[in-house]
């Protein structure tokens, strides 16, 4: 027998897939209007990612941080915290792992690797902790705090990478390379695809279990849906909210950590195409379900990379993807609103 939550996960999947299909159809009309080769453009957009093993590897690399951050954001949202700080938490994790990796380069991998990863996670969690504790203790709006922290963290990493750990032999704001013995290995059989992707998949499944199959998960969701109820049934609601933010930050920090260890092998100030914000959209489109987040993140990765191939092969600009993703968000929210009206009618009766 299939449990209701699992059905819920499947339903949560059906919704975005329907919207995605519709988006792609509408997008095709657009492309047909501006391009002589709409079919080629669309083929590039959707399937060029699978043309070669190296394209596929880049696709997985693109998806990895998105999956991790959006799964982390799921914890925050379920706890009722609108965490817009994925970007800052990601950068905190990436820069910390880089600094630790470079500073202690002589340590053996057995020690340095876990040290670098854990400090990256801790840095992300710390950046997530600030809005959490401010919200719980002082009622400060988390959206403002997380947005501000994004700027603070990004400017700080910019300082570090330009003034302290800049690779003076390279062009641009990039750090020295990390010692090779702590690089994350590739997925067996797919050269250059970070094995961090497999970690992300496992974590997204595990997160579902934690959120929907443990008392702790139920307590987090209770705190997120009705804080005053959670208090009344004896849940340490404030603690749950803060822990959820630590996890959200930790996931984003981990994403940054895995990025520098497995993909970039150094910190680049411009490594992120706003992963934090895209992951937020992924989590929302997945209706705050960690397993569905995995798929929405894959879709976004597909679009981001596919757009580049499309621009190379045809004259369709890659910014089309921004339009498509905007259309997708519109369709998803429209669908949700319609559903809400139905429920209301039913309740009224």
């Amino acid at each position: 027998m299939m449990s209701a939550e699992l059905k819920g996960s499947l339903n949560a999947l059906i919704a975005p897939i329907g919207a995605i299909v519709l988006t792609m159809l509408l997008g095709f009309i657009l492309v047909a209007a501006i391009s002589d080769e709409p079919v080629l453009a669309y083929r590039e957009l959707m399937f060029a990612n699978f043309d070669s093993l190296s394209n596929f590897a880049m696709f997985l690399n693109r998806a990895t941080p998105l999956v991790l951050i959006s799964v982390g954001i799921t914890f925050a949202f379920r706890a009722g915290v609108f965490n817009v700080g994925g970007e800052g938490q990601l950068f905190a994790g990436a820069i910390t792992t880089t600094v630790v990796g470079i500073a202690f380069a002589t340590l053996p991998a057995m020690i340095l690797f876990p040290f670098a990863v854990i400090s990256g996670i801790a840095a992300g969690a710390a950046v997530g902790w600030v809005p959490g504790i401010l919200k719980v203790k002082l009622g400060v709006d988390e959206v403002v705090v997380t947005l501000m922290l994004n700027t603070i963290v990004l400017l700080f990493t910019s300082y570090l990478v330009n003034q302290v750990i800049r690779d003076t032999t390279a062009y641009g704001a990039v750090s020295w390379e990390l010692p090779e013995h702590i690089w994350l290995p590739s997925i067996p059989g797919i050269p250059d695809a970070t094995s961090g992707f497999m970690i992300a998949v496992v974590l997204s499944l595990a997160s579902w279990v934690v959120l929907f199959r443990t008392q702790w998960g139920a307590e987090v969701r209770s705190s997120g849906t009705n804080l005053r109820y959670a208090e009344a049934v004896g849940i340490a609601a404030g603690k749950r909210v803060i822990t959820a933010m630590l996890i959200a930050g930790g996931f984003a920090g981990f994403a940054g950590s895995l990025y520098v260890l497995g993909i970039g092998h150094r910190f680049e100030q411009n490594f992120s195409p706003e992963y934090g914000l895209i992951a937020l959209t992924c989590a929302l489109l997945a209706r705050v379900n960690p397993i569905a987040s995995l798929f929405t993140a894959l879709y976004y990765a597909l679009m981001l990379n596919g757009a580049a191939y499309m621009q190379i092969s045809t004259e369709v600009p890659r910014s089309l993807v921004i339009l498509l993703t905007g259309l997708l968000v519109l369709l998803m929210t429209a669908r949700l609103a319609r559903k809400d009206t139905n429920t209301q009618t039913f309740d009224a009766f």
């Binding site: 209770s222 849906t225 109820y229 009344a232 340490a236």
Partner: protein
Amino acid sequence: MDHDNILVLDSIGKKFGDIVALENVDLSIRRGEVHVVCGENGAGKSTLMNILVGIHSADGGKIFFNGKETKIRDPLAAGAMGIGMVHQHFTLVPSMSVAENLFLGHHLLRFGIFSDHRTMVERADILIDTYSFALDPEAIVSSLSVGQRQRVEILKALVFDAELLILDEPTAVLTPPEVEELLKVITNLRDRGRTVLFITHKLREVKAVSDRVTILRRGKNISTHITKTVTENDIARDMVGRDVFLTGRQGQDHGMRTFGESVLQLENVSITNSSGRLLLDNIDLDVRAGEVLGVAGVDGNGQTELAEAIAGLIPIQAGAIRLDGTDITHVSVAGRQEVGLGFVPEDRLDRGLSSNMSVAENMAATNYLREGILRRGFVDKDQLTEFTQKGIEQFDIRGAKPDLAVASLSGGNMQKVVLAREFAREPKALLVSQPTRGLDIGASEFVYSEILSAADKGNGILLISSELSEIFALADRIAVIYSGCIMQVLTREDADEETIGILMNGGKEHAA
């Protein structure tokens, strides 16, 4: 057709899918009367009214208005005919003034373009005076109390001269004094020649205000009476379909009941808020095993603080709370539950439930460990379902399935979910706050019997209620709270409604 009738419904039927909401309902409303339609939740009252104002259309039957057969297509058509409705949930724009709300969508214009603000205010003022509503036409709606907003809603219907005014459960959102005011308003409307159709399930209001009463049950018109000729019990019987016992312990021989040791004690409990005002002043209470101690009082005299202090949700500044001999003054909410406290909060949607979560998760919230729902740290779905199913059956929670969101249940069934959760722990002391607020008669009766049987099993129960009839039905002793003080504690034999009523208004100094 009797021309004296303003509205006649002839065998109206309505189905939603397979569900029959209304079946052959006949109803005639006489010009100038106050006619109450009552019935339990889900009896079809709201559906019937929605048909009258054109929100739903009937599947069968005829509607005669002023003697002519009519079809009511939409709310605008209903308004044009002279049927105005005041919905339970307000449809006002909070940021606009009273006058602007009254003329919303029909703004009076100057030169055909500009809003004629002055005339609208004048017209609103005349209207307010006519019905002596005591409103400022230029006041912003968001600054008004709930009772005042409701009057604006009523005016909104009257401004376009509604002959027939439909009020859909208007008292559900009001405090008792506001209810009194509203009942006066309704009588006043009738005296000025309006016809009022009033929907409620509160018997006291039926008796207080109506000329005739029609009772719906499961979509059928069960009976129509002249209100003076029937008793509250007659109406209740028609509504529920059997004899109803809301009398509780009244009429029972009190001498037969014996009480055990004290299970919940409050000693000199005081609470001050951040600005230094005393919210609870030296409260002493003592609930014994097997006893229901009722706390009567007008809302807002410290009841909320009292309940939250006992539950452990707000700290107390002085005094001590003991549960079953253990000092729980500084124990956490969860710790108090562990010692044996059950808590039914006054507002089920606020503190009682998380309405977007499932029935199962709401019911299990405090019971995971105790009921063996966890296996090796993970939720055992089968156990959870079994536990919930047991609760659903035991408490007769209609329409509930373990995986269904609580929000889809009716108020009475939501309250039963709270009871099922709190009773599952078999708490030694049970703190019950406003347990039947918003519930219909059938559900209230069920809640009463559960509370009394818990007392019979030897639990000590502290019942906080602003409904005096509820206090008299359930309590063995009655404590009256006024302005944060316990005025006096009386046994039920010594108490009568008048004495309690005087105490509730602070009419007496601290008793010796």
